[in-house]
Amino acid sequence: MISGVVGIAMWQFAAVSVVRNPLFLPTPLAVLTSGIEAIRTGELFTDINISLTYFAVGSALGFVGGVLLGVLLGASQKVADYVDPWVSAAYTAPLVALTPLLIIWFGIGLWSKTIIIALLVIFPVTIGTVAGIRSTDRSLLEVAASMGAGRLDTLRKVMVPWALSFILSGARIGVGRGVIGIFVAELFGGASKGVGLMITNAASVFNTPLLFVGIIVLALMGVAVTSALRYLERRMAPWRTQSVV
């Protein structure tokens, strides 16, 4: 709360006293007015609606894929030996550069955009899942072994529950990348609507306040999902006194 007020005050000060050019840096008030205008015309919600759809479908695909891949890599050292370097490479590679290619493959519709978001989300989730599974407490594994638990039971009943916090931490990092994915996907993806496109259009006509509205909306989407994941993590792993990442 205080950080928000101070931040906006500093922004106001910088806009009015330092930059003094609304084209370079609009005042918070101008951004607010622009935002209200966009809400009034209903355009903002149309854009949010479309972007959220890409974001939700893409993140869900990325999350499920990331967990599955992570469990596979965590469970089998043999698979991990072959695939680990690829995952590291894919995590650090600028996957957004693939967007034009994905559009050639999947067209300009929903799929190319959700897939680029999914690609950005999947690898942090994979890495979190693998880290979680590999860090499973040894004594818990021995309990399972001494009861005669098989590989699948050990994975399902011990490793994956243990890894849950790590998975959700990976998802939090993934969501941050996914938000960037929305913007890039809409920018290159031939979208007709969406918050990312709104930002691009605003920038091309030097409508700086509207550009800020778009960025703030994307940031809020990221913050909302990240907080929800944090909440989930606390609820589902109350025995951990602090977050694993």
Binding site: S139, L140, E142, V143, A144, A145, S146, M147, G148, A149, G150, D153, K157, V158, P161, W162, L164, M236, A237, P238, W239
Partner: protein
């Protein structure tokens, strides 16, 4: 057919790259009669936990045989269950779900499992805490869950690896009484590892003393005190004599005074 636990010439050696194999256990042999409570004591690093892990199937022996009722154990066996040191409960499972773990893994029908779980939670004195999570329980309560989890699968032999070592003294003594009460009800064959001689003498029918590495069996002492034993038994001269005698042999082990292989006098009851 009695279900005695028989350990014959159990040896464990770990390969080392430079110095040749490290012998941890050297031909350890003993027998535990069905329903007997035997404590295994020895200096730290003597391999007493290794003996337990071999019986539990978590450590492969390099030589020797382990059998229950004449039928050999190879690896993890359904006739054996283990109570681990503190904090080996699943933190995401409730008390009831922790106790049910072994039953789930062994595919007991849910209804039967639930009845067994409830029964054991009551036996270990945790009625009312079925839905609590381990992090909400005290150390003593967690060890009750740990015990119930092992008893749930109804093993022939119960292995206990220093289960009370992380508890404070008062909790530890009350848990020893509790363990005796529960054991008198279920009469399992118990192999109990501890480094505390008092605990061993108080709990066990027999105390096996192990030597320093490579671990061998040094003494086998019967504890004649009647059951149920109470706190007052800890203060009798007989109790102290046993504890002191064992402590002396253990001390000899630690300072290497006793020549190797020499039987400890007056203790081979």
């Amino acid at each position: 057919m009695s279900m005695d636990l028989r350990v014959e010439d159990l040896s464990v050696a770990f390969p080392r790259s430079v110095a040749g194999p490290l012998t941890v256990l050297d031909r350890v042999a003993f027998e535990v009669q069905q329903g007997q409570f035997v404590a295994l004591v020895g200096p730290s690093g003597c391999g007493k936990t290794t003996v337990l892990r071999c019986v539990g199937g978590l450590q492969a022996p390099s030589g020797g045989r382990i059998a229950i009722g004449g039928r050999p154990l190879a690896g993890v066996d359904r006739r054996v269950a283990m109570v681990f040191q503190s904090d080996s409960l699943f933190p995401w499972r409730t008390v009831a779900a922790n106790v049910a773990f072994g039953l789930e893994v062994r595919r007991y029908p849910a209804q039967r499992a639930a009845a067994i779980v409830q029964d054991l939670i009551e036996l270990v004195g945790l009625a009312g805490f079925e839905r609590s999570y381990p992090h909400q329980l005290s150390g003593g309560m967690r060890q009750r869950v740990n015990l119930a989890r092992a008893l749930a699968v109804d093993p022939e032999v119960l292995l206990m690896d220093e289960p009370f070592s992380s508890l404070d003294m008062l909790t530890r003594e009350s848990m020893q009484l509790e363990l005796q009460r529960i054991w008198l009800r279920r009469k399992k064959t118990v192999l109990f590892v501890t480094h505390q001689i008092e605990e061993a003498v108080f709990l066990a029918d027999r105390v096996l003393l192990m030597s320093r590495r490579p671990g061998t069996l040094r003494a086998d002492v019967a504890v004649p005190h009647k059951r149920p034993r109470g706190t007052h038994d800890r203060h009798t001269p007989e109790f102290h004599a046993l504890v002191d005698g064992l402590a002396e042999s253990l001390g000899a082990e630690l300072t290497d005074q006793g020549p190797a292989g020499r039987p400890v006098p007056a203790l081979n009851a």
